[in-house]
């Protein structure tokens, strides 16, 4: 066993369940991709909105599972002490998994209105808003799981060594829990509803989640590069400083056209135009640290994921976000395929990839080895490139669809109706679907890489495999 604290092992089921939900997410994404070009596919059994709920909710839940797994793995190691209550972490895992499973089963097995009725939505109506479709009782379950999780992590940090990584992680996770509470506020006034809805959605993904992302990335970079913690922590602070300095007021880019005052067009445009800065710094940071590495960690795949996260988060969240964030541009692009293009690459680049980074780093260790065999790592890197390049193409095709949609429906002298435009841009949806299938292939390769024997057997070690012997030497040097 190579992990230092027994209780880090509770992270393992979280990571496995996260990958399982990732597969569900992609399968339902493909169903939707098909429905875009074959309108009555699976109709009326799985209407588009149901597939979309599964697609987005599975994503959110698996990212949260990954964050929790990451915290349970890295907090004991950073704090240099066992987790406060390992059994609680295992119990909340099962509660979370069962709640997520029941919720998805509910989406698929009964009409949404029936689900609302049997879960008593009328008592405290919170359902039916984008990304917050979960029955109120599921939302309450999420709060309970989050509180138990924060208690466990918080107590561990309190009794052990306090590092910047755990502090930033805790602030991010605490913010996640606090801002989720706004999902329970659902006034009839549509403008108020939308205003506060963004306090969950924006302040999560363009706020506190970036703290979690930064902390996990910093942890992995400390481990794989061996660069002095002081330097990495300095970068972490300045990156998350820029994140919140730009991102909090940057919420204003959602307040242009929903009935809120027009000054938000200025606040939102200026501050959200600065939001790429922390992502750019993150890219510079990751490459700098890897270039200044003081050891060659045998887990090359984890390093690749870490660098990939920084680059793809900058492209997806930074560049594709900037593309349509200025109010005069957003006036035409708001709520089109441009938004979808940005959403896909930003979620993949920032949050999917940081989860796959920590899984790539921690899973081999949780399975009793410092790194996987060369063969398993090569396969994992193939998966990295297949998924990442596919996502670049998904984003480019959606951007193409979006530009045409904006022109035909909103900009030309003779604007066409929505569904007429959808027919005209169908070619791009076909191309996106093909890229989506390639993404699934990448995901299957990724899963396959876990089943390649991971142990580096003595027989594999001789000079025949230069990587292996180099690794052996490094490990010997590292003691």
């Amino acid at each position: 066993m190579t992990f230092k604290y027994q209780s880090q092992a509770v992270a393992k089921p979280y990571f496995i369940a996260a990958i399982g939900l990732f597969v569900a997410q992609i399968l339902f994404g493909l169903i939707m991709g098909l429905q875009y070009v074959w309108g009555d596919f699976l109709f009326p059994e799985i209407p588009f909105n149901v597939a979309r709920m599964v697609h987005t909710n599975a994503l959110i839940v698996w990212l949260l599972m990954g964050f929790m797994g990451a915290a349970y793995y890295l907090v004991p190691e950073e704090s240099e002490t066992e987790l406060h209550m390992p059994w609680l972490a295992t119990a909340t895992f099962w509660i979370f998994l069962v709640a997520a499973g029941l919720t998805v089963a509910g989406y698929l097995m009964v009409p949404y209105a029936t689900l609302a009725e049997i879960t008593g939505n009328k008592l405290l109506p919170t359902m039916g808003r984008e990304f917050l479709e979960q029955p109120t009782i599921t939302k309450l379950g999420i709060v309970v799981v989050a509180l138990a999780f924060l208690f466990n992590i918080g107590m561990t940090i309190l009794k052990g060594r306090k590092t910047v990584v755990t502090l930033v992680l805790l602030m991010g996770l605490g913010g996640l829990a606090v801002f989720f509470l706004f999902s329970f506020f659902n006034p009839t006034n549509l403008v108020e509803d939308k205003f506060w809805w963004w306090w969950v959605v924006h302040l999560w993904v363009e706020g506190v989640w970036e703290l979690i992302l930064g902390a996990i990335l910093a942890f992995v970079l400390i481990k794989v590069t061996g660069v002095d913690r002081e330097i990495i922590e300095k970068w972490l602070y300045i990156i998350i400083a820029m994140t919140l300095i730009t991102g909090i007021i940057g919420t204003g880019h959602h307040y242009y056209w929903i009935g809120t005052p027009e000054y938000w067009q200025w606040w939102g445009s200026i501050f959200s135009a600065l939001e790429p800065i922390p992502f750019f710094m993150m890219t510079v940071f990751a490459f700098n640290m890897v270039n200044r590495r003081r050891r060659n960690h045998p887990n090359k795949a984890a390093t690749l994921w870490a660098l990939g996260t920084a680059v793809m988060a900058f492209l997806g969240a930074g560049i594709w976000g900037f593309l349509h964030t200025l109010a005069p541009v957003n006036y035409y692009t708001h709520g089109t395929q441009i938004t979808a293009a940005h959403g896909h690459m930003a979620f993949y680049g920032a949050y999917v990839m940081i989860n796959l980074t920590i899984i790539s780093y921690a899973m081999p260790i949780l399975r009793g080895r410092e790194a996987n065999s060369g063969k398993a790592q090569v396969l994992e890197m193939w998966a990295f490139w297949l998924m990442t390049v596919s996502m670049v193409f998904i984003t480019l095709f959606l951007t193409g669809a979006g530009i045409l949609q904006v022109y035909l429906q909103r900009f030309s002298d003779t604007p066409l109706p929505f569904l007429v435009v959808q027919d005209k841009i169908a070619l791009f949806y076909w191309l996106r679907l093909i890229a989506g299938v390639a993404f699934l292939v990448g995901l299957l390769v990724y899963i396959w890489s876990f089943f390649i024997p991971g142990e580096r057997k003595a027989a594999e070690m001789p000079a025949m495999e230069p990587q292996g012997s180099e690794r052996g030497a490094v490990e010997a040097a590292a003691g």
């Binding site: 429905q35 359902m127 039916g128 403008v191 939308k194």
Partner: protein, 150 residues
């Protein structure tokens, strides 16, 4: 970064910057809520009026059937079906047209094409949805969407 820029300095920028901009955000949030009544048509929502009750019921039906899972409303939602923030205007300011459209959706869809499901709403529910969509169209959205097609 050289010694001149220390970890303590970057930590202070983080805490100071976050606190300052969060407070600024709270101030803007407060100001927004002071001026919202001029733009959000809240006078229509009075629960003592029949119309207010109808709109509230319409919003509840909007949510409990996950309409946002296909449509956008004021540009937010899914991009599979038309924008509905201005559908009342697009349908010629006719609630009857909206009700007729929802009521007339074929149960088994349209072969090969996207089609809205048949929700089997009662006439009262159809009226509530239409009232909600009419209210949405009256919110001052700074002239968005750019044209009637949404």
């Amino acid at each position: 970064m050289a010694q001149t820029f220390t970890k303590e300095m970057s930590r202070n920028i983080f805490y100071g910057g976050t606190a300052f901009f969060f407070l600024l955000f709270l101030a803007l949030t407060f100001d927004t809520h002071m001026s919202m009544p001029d733009r959000d048509k809240r006078e229509l929502l009075n629960p003592d009026t029949e119309r207010g009750q109808l709109i509230a019921h319409g919003k509840q039906l909007w949510e409990e059937n996950d309409c946002i899972g296909c449509h956008t409303l004021l540009g937010e939602g899914a991009y599979f079906a038309p924008e509905l923030g201005n559908v009342y205007k697009r349908f010629g300011g006719s609630k009857e047209a909206i009700m007729g459209f929802i009521k007339g959706r074929p149960k088994n869809g349209i072969p090969g094409r996207r089609s809205m499901p048949q929700f089997n709403f009662t006439d009262e529910e159809l009226a509530a949805l239409a009232a909600f969509l009419q209210y949405a169209s009256e919110i001052n959205t700074s002239n968005w969407p750019p044209n009637i097609q949404g």
